[in-house]
């Protein structure tokens, strides 16, 4: 018997007797012989020790030793030990969705605090308790904008992550939604193009800050123009950058989404991550996902509950604002713990440190022969480098020297085969950056 089954033969027999059947097989008579498995070739079970050894052997086949200068929306930030320690408490991670508030106040209050923290980061009024990841959060924002405006045309800035843009197209292929993409000019949003496309049939403009190339922008002017046509503006943001950068709230954005991985979540080869969404309070009833609200119990004590549930699938079914049920509560709590540890000053300093190191890397790299750093627009902790050789080949060669040097842009942008984006977080030391530049120079020379 596997170790997760408690009952012994004695108890099983007692239970069968109580039920009034002879064997467990008698309980499966509703499954007719022709409905039984045509095959079930599963290997025999193994002990925990054996499985651990096997999985760890697989783990050894991964190159997690590389020094990461690769970002592309997923960043190698340091995670304070207290985050992992707290989130590993069984009372958090083995709890269910907090539908019974009296025995779920821990999860509920932590999610309320998460919502508040994300709101202060983005300077927006309301947040939900999380969505799956940054890309799917952006899709939910588009659907929300369509619900609010009743329009079906979307303008999408080319600086929005190409991964996100691919997701949006997948999701909307069976829906009658028109996407207009605008190019990036000198690293920033093409204001002329966007303005030209604004009209009364447009539901939303999607922007990203910093954009996929790492460039930062102030979208206030675009947002003002869009609002003249009743268009909503969706901003996808990188939360760590908001320790320094102008917030989407201050710019006037209507819906803000983002990937929260940088807020204390490991890279985990792609997930679980943390999609978040904030908006203005007037749109709260159109927002997808769970929302935690503060109230009082029958004795007047502060309490928290899932609120506005009439938007959700378990009540509204086919008229729900989204089909989302399970979100990523634990990741939201993890991010909340991380933000609490960093605090007001910590987040600011961390953002500044990222900026400082990235600026240093830019300086050093700009002295490398065969590397040109585009300086047309300011950046945060990621920037575009132009290489004298094919970026794919350069990045591949850099692996042998122990570096994940960046993400080549040619994969998603035609004509940009000699560009890569380079990310520099607080984890990169001066020594690593210097060695990175030296190695890059050598690699370019040898090619």
């Amino acid at each position: 018997m596997n170790p997760y089954i408690a009952n012994t033969k004695i108890e099983v027999d007692e239970m069968l007797q109580c039920i009034g059947v002879k064997t467990i097989d008698d309980l499966f008579l509703d499954i007719k012989p022709n409905q039984r498995p045509k095959s079930f070739n599963i290997p025999p079970g193994e002990s925990e020790q054996e499985v651990v050894a096997y999985i760890n052997r697989l783990a050894n086949k991964n190159r997690s030793d590389l020094i990461l200068f690769i970002g592309g929306g997923y960043y190698d930030h340091y995670i304070p030990a207290a985050v992992g320690s707290l989130i590993s408490r069984g009372e958090f991670y083995t709890a269910y969705t907090p539908y019974q508030p009296e025995c779920s106040q821990g999860t509920l209050q932590a999610l309320y605090e998460f919502q508040s923290a994300i709101c202060t980061l983005t300077e927006m009024e309301v947040a939900n308790a999380s969505l799956y990841d940054g890309g799917t959060a952006l899709y939910e924002a588009v659907m929300m904008a369509i619900r609010i405006t009743g329009r079906r045309r979307i303008i999408m800035d080319g600086g929005v992550s190409p991964i996100y843009r691919t997701i949006l197209k997948s999701y909307t292929s069976n829906l009658d939604i028109e996407f207009q993409e605008t190019p990036v000019v000198h690293g920033q949003s093409d204001r002329q193009q966007i303005t030209k496309l604004l009209n009364e049939n447009t539901a939303a403009v999607i922007l990203q800050n910093p954009n996929f190339f790492g460039a930062i922008d102030d979208h206030t002017d675009i947002i003002e123009q869009a609002h003249k046509f009743g268009i909503l503006v969706i901003e996808s943001v990188y939360p760590i950058s908001l320790g320094l950068l102008k917030t989407p709230g201050e710019m006037g954005a209507d819906i803000v989404t983002g990937e929260g991985q940088s807020l204390g979540l490991p890279l985990n080869f792609g997930g679980p991550y943390l999609g978040f969404m904030t908006t203005r309070k007037k749109f709260i009833r159109k927002m997808p996902g769970r929302i935690v609200g503060q109230t009082v119990d029958i004795h007047g004590r502060r309490s928290f509950v899932n609120t506005l549930q009439a938007r959700e699938q378990h009540i509204r079914r086919e008229k729900a604002t989204s089909n989302i049920c399970t979100n990523v509560s634990l990741c939201a709590i993890q991010a909340c713990i991380y933000m609490s540890l960093l605090g007001k000053q910590g987040l600011k300093r961390l953002a500044q440190l990222n900026l400082d190191k990235a600026e240093y890397a830019k300086q050093v790299l700009s002295h490398v022969k065969g590397v040109e750093i585009k300086r047309s627009s300011p950046t945060f902790n990621e920037f575009t480098a132009y290489l004298s050789k094919d970026a794919n080949a350069v990045v591949e060669a850099m692996i042998n020297r122990g570096f994940a040097a960046g993400f080549p842009l040619g994969r998603y942008y035609k004509g940009m085969e000699q560009y890569m984006i380079v990310a520099v977080t607080e984890k990169r030391t001066k020594e690593e950056i210097d060695r990175f530049a030296e190695s890059l120079e050598e690699v370019l020379k040898e090619m």
């Binding site: 499954i31 025999p44 925990e48 190159r63 320690s85 025995c103 999860t107 991550y273 989204s322 990523v328």
Partner: protein, 502 residues
């Protein structure tokens, strides 16, 4: 309890940012900078640790309490999978590495996990291929229905409707609607199962597919599934299997063998990845051959030399449904669990899940109304209508259980059963725990006869008593920093007084 923001003392810090080791002070023009500081709390590390430890103690969880939530499969979550998933060789692996040229070499271990788990899930479910990309059960449903749409587009079928049983999980109709289909609801027949006569009436060439589970939401295995699948396939509709109830039939029946074309698995149910207080989950989707070309990209494939790579070259694919390759750390946990169980362990799982549910059903059926008195699978559904006549509703019984330290079953779901109490004990619970639970429910029934008034004040032993859910929805406060009250349109139809579980 105080909020973390209320514990804030200016100048206090919970984490030391390293001193800058480069002699550059980055600066950006003021117009790109935020004007107002963020208002994150200023607290020490010990403040944070005590705050969140205390919060965690305000939860029920599988580690601390019996959790017989119907349709949620709250089985025990083994600890070794947690340790495996935290191995830095997985946890620190950047997801874009395999997208570099020859980058798959850098992530062979992770790709092998994704490849092998797909093989084993295919064999467990009787499907031809799986994608690990969907990030939760409902996300898997959406992926499945998008593939359904792609299939019909590809064949030139003009389809408008998806049929969903009344008893289905709310995500089914919501998914269908979001994917662009109208839904047709079918009520249950006198046995609580999908009404085949009604199904025949509704079936026509415009039906894209049927979404259902088996065993269905009442915990009953539908033996007529072959007939249903035959009818649906006759109009070139597709059968979608909601994997919520897969735990009941592991090794006993495979969705792919009984007519289903597409399915999702909730790893956080059947394969015991922790629920996390509402996610993260993972919702792998399996399909039969005729749908393989529509699976999301990337696909993890194996070369003849035994190495693994990501294949994006599927022109008919529905594209990306998630940013990367799915919730990898959860897929990894599920795989380790399956390897440990093996063939026998999977059978033991369904055997004991079904045994435990039938035991609870038999011991309680003289105390609570059982609409369908027959063998159940992994869960059983009672109705508290008798107790409700005495003024004690399903929600009151739920609160009674909370007061006594047990998580209540799912209540008011499925919607087709009045005062529903849906119990899924799972295979990991002992007879002793089940007996305690049964005794409590019998006691609740007795009290409903003798002291029905005591229920309204329950629970008393929890950090808070029943919250005012109407106030929560009308005086909205969802953000400490903004008073979100006084919205212009207070909800008329607040459902908040009823607690739904799914």
């Amino acid at each position: 309890m105080e909020l973390i923001f209320e514990k804030s003392i200016p100048g206090r810090r919970g984490f030391q940012i390293p001193v800058c080791d480069v002699n550059v002070q980055g600066d950006i023009p003021p117009r790109y900078k935020r004007t107002h500081d963020n208002e994150l709390p200023e607290v020490s590390e010990v403040d944070v640790v005590r705050h969140f430890t205390r919060l965690s103690q305000m939860n029920f969880s599988v580690d601390t309490n019996f959790y017989p939530l119907g349709s949620c499969t709250m089985k025990y979550n083994p600890k070794f999978t947690e340790v495996l998933a935290k191995n830095p060789q997985f946890a620190d692996l950047h997801p874009l590495l395999p997208q570099l040229r020859n980058g798959e070499k850098l992530t062979q271990g992770a790709l092998q996990v994704l490849y092998e788990v797909e093989q084993i899930l295919c064999e467990i479910a009787g499907m031809d291929q799986f994608t690990m990309q969907p990030l939760a059960g409902a996300h898997g449903e959406l992926t499945g229905v998008m593939m359904m749409a792609a299939y019909h587009r590809d064949k030139g079928n003009k389809k408008k409707y998806i049929i969903v049983p009344d008893a289905a999980h709310g995500t089914n109709p919501a998914t269908a609607a979001i994917a662009g289909y109208a839904t047709i609801a079918i009520p249950p027949d006198e046995n609580g199962l999908l009404d085949i006569t009604k199904l025949k009436e509704k079936l026509n060439d415009e039906v894209a597919g049927v979404m259902m589970t088996n065993p269905d939401t009442l915990g009953i295995f539908n033996s007529h599934i072959d007939e249903i699948a035959g009818l649906v396939h006759r109009v070139d509709g597709l059968m979608y299997y909601d994997g919520a109830n897969l735990n009941a039939i592991l090794g006993r029946c495979r969705p792919g063998d009984i007519g289903f074309d597409i399915m999702h698995i909730n790893t956080h149910k059947t394969f015991t990845t922790p629920h996390g207080g509402g996610g993260p989950g993972a919702g792998p989707v399996g399909v039969k051959k005729k749908l393989v070309k529509f699976l999301p990209i990337s696909r993890v494939e194996k070369r003849s030399d035994g190495t693994f790579y990501l294949n994006y070259d599927y022109p008919d694919s529905i594209g990306y449904v998630a940013s990367l390759y799915g919730n990898f750390a959860l897929i990894l946990r599920a795989y380790a669990y399956i390897l440990l169980l093996g063939k026998e362990g999977l059978l033991e799982t369904s055997n004991h899940a079904v045994l435990n549910a039938n035991y609870v059903m038999h011991r309680l059926k003289n105390h609570y109304l059982l609409h369908y008195d027959r063998t159940c699978m992994h869960e059983c559904v009672f109705s508290a209508t008798q107790q409700a006549e005495r003024g004690v509703h399903a929600i009151d019984i739920a609160k009674f259980l909370i007061d006594r330290g047990m998580h209540p079953p799912t209540v008011y779901f499925p919607l087709t059963v009045k005062e529903a109490i849906m119990i899924e004990p799972t295979e990991t619970e002992s007879k002793q725990t089940l007996d305690q639970f049964i005794e409590l429910l019998i006691e609740a029934d007795q009290l409903s006869k003798t002291q029905p008034d005591i229920f309204k004040d329950l629970p008393k032993t929890t950090p808070v008593a029943r919250p005012d859910e109407v106030k929560a929805a009308t005086d909205l406060n969802t953000n400490f920093f903004v008073n979100t009250a006084k919205l212009t349109r207070p909800q008329k139809n607040s459902s908040a007084s009823i607690t739904h579980h799914v």
